[in-house]
């Protein structure tokens, strides 16, 4: 989840002197060390053939260049799933096209040393030069434990380096040790691989190393007594969820206003100073208007990612998974899927990537298929626009604002649909019988470093901006072209009966004869039963690339009709032809249909792209697109019919 979204596929990083792999159990602090070694130049991708993420980076020490790779956390090298087999294959060099690593950095959490020695024994049996990095030694001491790293080094036969990652201690020692990797001492004899012999070995090593286990973390126990309490814990959990949504609306608003002001100011400047009117239009409306409409949500996205990173860094997410496991289990998933779905409220892309924490491939697929149904932040501008057309701001249902209620209902609809979808996909997949046992470690609460939070926020924000800069920019420019081509000369305009001096009439004519209009009309048979007009069709088609463009597209269309008052133009828009000619387009049934359409349709190329990358095949993203489109059409049609009936019933005396 903390990886950057939309990261490129990893490629061999040119010539390196050695390949170093980081291996260790989850929660040992491995990724922290990886980040400190590689800085910001890490890339994420996938291992060939599996939905397992791969992080690589480079590091130069003493003019030697190292490729550093962060393997997924493992508890042992005996795989129980194809994903875990990938880790074992990576270590033994059995992955196609990827050779054997040169050296290993084995990251071990000093507070769970007894359990970790099982992995240590297995890793040392690989007979690769290995250095053992001890993390969280400060926490061990703070909880009354003890350990002598020098004695541990003697007992194991490999170099042991103490690292306190959040203070940066020991990183320099680790870095300095890397160039001499071929000369690292190695154990004379393999540790026993299991059974009573391994337990005896573990006991002996721990005793020699002066190991005293840490007492259970009192602070964690005290906090969990509240946070995992059946009553208080659930209340806190509900509060955290509500806070999450408050962030979406309340806290981000002032920041969003600032961004809006900035962009409209820029657009003004463009229109004033750019000499060519078409260029001014392109830059001002398409680029600034389109992209600006998306960047406006950056503060919101950042705040949401901040909250998720914070909760995850502290360790609350595993508590959330624990609390929600039973509920998730009802649809065949597990607690960690909740975290992935929760992240999807910000954006489905990090949510889909968060499914990497799920050990079961079937759970991952099911959650990925469901994640786009969670109401992501991209739907918000669409909902806000459409709800504004449907319900007046002053409408109230008792003490509650109807607009807010409708928004809440849409969120609930998305969440419930996601759960049902996950259940269906999981049930349909049950063929190969690979049932994974549920187990989850609950680490103590730890205070995350500002650095790690900043890094994960940067990753998500960078990905979001990249999406803006590429897909959305390209789409809005393309759309602008489609809406304004073919060009008409003054003579052609006069021949069609339009006065070239009348801006309003000209824009309306341009729009009507544009390429976009042709496309919109061509798909009318599909969307007519939903009450969509060809202009709405254009908007819907455009939004297939990214939902945010729907608002920009309608904005462009409305400006064409009435450049001074686009909002009113939208409300007043009427069908130009066909069976409903003269009626307002945005009637209640149509708006309701549009809203439901947006709840269900998969309208995000970025999501399709990340699904393709995470599953390694086009099959799943295409299935997702297909089933969601059908759901969207059916749902919109039902909504249209239902609201039509309701309006008719209400209008009857």
């Amino acid at each position: 989840m903390t990886d950057s979204c939309h990261g490129g596929v990893t490629t061999p990083v040119g010539s390196v002197d050695a390949r170093i792999l980081l291996v260790g159990s989850p929660n040992a602090g491995k990724t922290s060390i990886f980040n400190r070694l590689t800085g910001l130049n890490a890339k994420t991708g996938n291992y060939p053939g599996v939905t397992v993420g791969r992080s690589t980076g480079t590091l130069t020490v003493d003019s030697q260049r190292f490729a550093v790779e962060d393997l997924p956390g493992t508890y042992g090298l005996t795989p129980i799933s194809p994903d875990e087999r990938v880790v074992v294959d990576a270590l033994s060099g059995n992955l196609p096209g990827i050779g054997r690593p040169d050296a290993l950095v084995l990251v071990v959490d000093a507070t769970t040393l007894r359990r970790s020695l099982h992995l240590v024994a297995q890793v040392l049996a690989l007979h690769l030069p290995t250095v053992l990095v001890l993390t969280l030694t400060d926490e061990l001491a703070g909880r009354g434990g003890a350990l002598d790293p020098v004695a541990l080094e003697r007992a194991l036969g490999v170099p042991v380096i103490r690292v306190v990652a959040h203070r940066g201690l020991g990183i320099a020692d680790l870095r300095d040790a890397l160039p001499s990797w071929s000369r690292w001492p190695r154990p004379v004899l393999d540790a026993p691989c299991g059974g009573a012999e391994q337990s005896a070995w573990v006991d002996s090593v721990l005793h020699s190393a002066g190991h005293r286990p840490a007492s259970p973390d009192r602070r964690t126990a005290r906090i969990d007594a509240v946070l995992l309490h059946p009553l208080w814990g659930s209340l806190v959990f509900a509060t955290v969820m509500v806070a999450f949504f408050q962030v979406i609306f309340a806290f981000a608003a002032p920041l969003q206003d600032l961004v809006e002001v900035l962009f409209s100011g820029l657009a003004d400047l463009v229109h004033r100073f750019v000499p060519l009117p078409w260029l001014a239009g392109l830059l001002g409306d398409a680029v600034l208007g389109g992209v600006g409409g998306v960047v406006v949500f950056l503060p919101q996205i950042l705040l949401m990612f901040l909250l998720v990173s914070l909760l995850e860094g502290i360790g609350y997410m595993s508590r959330a998974a624990f609390l929600m496991d039973r509920v998730m289990g009802a649809v065949g998933l597990e607690g960690r899927a909740f975290v992935a779905l929760l992240s999807s409220f910000a954006c489905a892309v990090p949510g889909i990537m968060a499914t990497r924490t799920l050990p079961s491939a079937k759970d991952r697929i099911a959650t990925m298929m469901a994640a786009p149904l969670m109401t992501c932040s991209a739907r918000l501008p669409v909902y806000i626009l459409l709800i504004g057309l449907l319900v007046s701001p002053s409408a109230r249902f008792g003490p509650l604002q109807v607009q807010g209620l409708v928004m809440f209902a849409l969120y609930v609809l998305g969440a419930v649909s996601a759960m049902v979808a996950a259940w269906v996909v999981k049930a349909v997949q049950d063929r190969d019988g690979l049932l994974m046992p549920f187990y989850m470690e609950m680490p103590p609460y730890r205070i995350p470093t500002l650095r790690s939070i900043a890094l994960s926020m940067w990753g998500s924000a960078a990905a979001f901006l990249r999406k803006c800069g590429t897909i959305i920019l390209v789409t809005t420019i393309l759309l602008w072209l489609l809406l304004n081509l073919p060009l008409h000369s003054d003579a052609q305009l006069r021949a069609a009966g339009i006065d070239p001096a009348d801006d309003g009439a000209v824009s309306a004519y341009v729009l009507d004869t544009s390429a976009a209009a042709a496309i919109g009309r061509a798909v009318e048979p599909v969307f007519d039963p939903l009450g969509f007009d060809w202009r709405v069709n254009v908007g819907v088609l455009a939004s297939l690339s990214a939902r945010e463009t729907f608002v920009a597209t309608l904005g462009q269309i409305a400006s064409a009709a009435d450049p001074d008052n686009p909002a009113e133009a939208l409300a007043a828009m009427t069908y130009t032809d066909g069976s409903h000619a003269g009626e307002p387009v945005f009637s209640a049934p149509t708006v309701a249909a549009l809203l439901v359409f947006f709840v269900y349709a998969l309208q995000c190329m970025s999501t399709v792209g990340v699904m393709r990358r995470e599953t390694g095949t086009w099959k799943w993203p295409l299935i997702a697109f297909g089933y969601m489109f059908v759901l969207a059409w059916l749902g919109a049609w039902l909504a249209h019919g239902a609201v039509l009936l309701a309006v008719a019933a209400g209008a009857a005396p």
């Binding site: 004379v188 004899l189 026993p192 012999e197 005896a200 070995w201 005793h207």
Partner: protein, 195 residues
């Protein structure tokens, strides 16, 4: 199963010290051992077995290598440790060089970081006796009679000394008497090795 793990022995690549808890086997040169361990000793796969205070030193024979024989040695050792009474030792004079080795190791330690620490506090430390795996030292100067003496000795001197001489049993300290008092053995400064 008795906990044990192998550690390399400096300068002797054919030997591993299998660390075991103290008190299971008596110290000495092993003549026969029960089970497969005895078989290996008899057939020359294992050249020599010696028990010291830190563990069981097992040296492999000329044609044997640890990667190949290690698993067998480990299994045999585990089995043999279940019958400590069945081990027999060679009738042996105490290892004559042990005391010399202890003496040299102790002198090295006192000349090194541990001694520097004491000297930096205005004290002085001399080696009085090195015998039977016990080193006796004398503290002078500011360190004599200091309440932190016990802690200093355990933390620094004993640890450094045990690195060089793993069979160390204890480090004892004598403080120089003040005028009018007899020399006393600071009993609190005598530490047994961990059991």
């Amino acid at each position: 199963m008795i906990p044990t793990h192998p550690e390399a022995v400096a300068g002797q690549p054919d030997t591993l010290r299998w660390v075991i808890p103290a008190g299971i086997l008596t110290v000495g040169e092993v003549r026969t051992a029960p089970g497969d361990l005895g078989v290996m000793l008899g057939t020359g796969v294992v050249r020599r077995i010696r028990v010291d205070r830190a563990g069981v030193l097992i040296a492999l024979g000329p044609d044997a290598l640890w990667p190949a024989q290690g698993a067998r040695v480990r299994a045999a050792l585990h089995a043999a440790l279940e019958q400590p009474g069945a081990w027999t030792l060679a009738v042996c004079a105490p290892d004559p060089s042990a005391d010399d080795r202890l003496y040299e190791a102790a002198e090295t330690v006192l000349a090194g970081a541990a001694g520097d620490f004491i000297r930096s506090h205005g004290g002085a430390i001399d080696l009085i006796l090195a015998r039977d795996d016990v080193a006796t030292v004398r503290l002078r100067g500011a360190c004599a009679g200091c309440p932190a003496v016990g802690f200093t000795l355990q933390a620094r001197v004993e640890r450094d000394l045990r690195l060089l001489y793993p069979e160390l049993r204890a480090v004892r300290a004598i403080a120089l008497p003040r005028p009018g008092k007899r020399a006393t053995l600071t009993g609190v400064a005598a530490f047994e090795t961990a059991t």
